[in-house]
Symmetry: C2
DNA sequence: ACGTCATTGCAACATTGTTGCAAAATATTT
DNA sequence: AAATATTTTGCAACAATGTTGCAATGACGT
């Protein structure tokens, strides 16, 4: 899959800066999802902690990445597929979190079944989070 | 539904203390899920913050409550149904989080569809989190 | 190359969660 | 019911995580 960092940033009217380029690159290279802490560790002292927070925030707002719900308190982020629009993304994700190694996988090929909600409830997003043991830890 | 606080605590070999009784009572009274902050606000200065953390931890370990994954970073807890065993609970939950008022509902009557995982992946728990507008906010 | 605007880094702070230990409350034994 | 053993609590101190204001820096359009 071809993914141009510069193109993505330009398309979203974001200035092209070192931090944005490198953080976006991390997401592209990473097969799974990343937490703030992962990015902080990988980048060492290159960027300020605040910059990482703000970059992630911006990416979420622009629909470049999205947050993944987890049962523990850690927030994780993953690249959105191209269809994702500004602000909210409409394709529903299946995520797998390994209890053993903590890796978060986006299972894009698994379809999320639609849910029958009680009267008066309207869904805008559905997240299906499966946890267990992953391929490598099994 | 009859739910005896004392019985529940005894069954789990926990000492019967004020904090445990009152926190468990909050869960029974609350239709939705509670975050640590909710409990802290509702109980005022009655208990130490640390006590609340430890009580919630204990309840999760004993299978009295369970955590709910959320896309924002807040951890929420809800009562487990009686079938839940020690440590892990085996019935899969559907949760609905209202974007407007933040209330978290346990939709027990909606069944979680089983997911086809790629080879090598083994699921122990499946969480389906739907967000949108709830009954009251629609 | 210059001015404008967006972004960064620093500092300070707020919130959230954790740990050790003595005091207090609960449970158990006699 | 009193004494002992065990569990739980509250305090203090700390660690981690996230936020905000502001001056300095860097990116972008002309």
């Amino acid at each position: 899959m071809l993914y141009s960092i510069i193109e993505t940033l330009k398309k979203n009217q974001l200035s092209i800066t070192d931090s944005r380029k490198k953080i976006l690159e991390m997401f592209i290279r990473s097969k799974g999802a990343l937490a703030h802490a992962d990015i902080e560790h990988q980048s060492g002292t290159e960027f300020d902690r605040v910059t990482i927070y703000r970059t992630l925030q911006t990416f979420v707002e622009k629909g470049i990445i999205h947050t993944i719900p987890t049962a523990d308190n850690s927030v994780r982020y993953a690249l959105c597929k191209d269809e994702c629009g500004q602000g909210q993304h409409h394709d529903d994700h299946v995520h797998f979190i390994c209890d053993e190694c903590g890796t978060t996988y986006c299972l894009d090929h698994v379809t999320v079944p639609s849910v029958d909600l009680p009267a008066g409830f309207k869904a805008t997003q559905t997240d299906l989070v499966v946890s267990g043991k992953c391929m490598r830890c099994n």
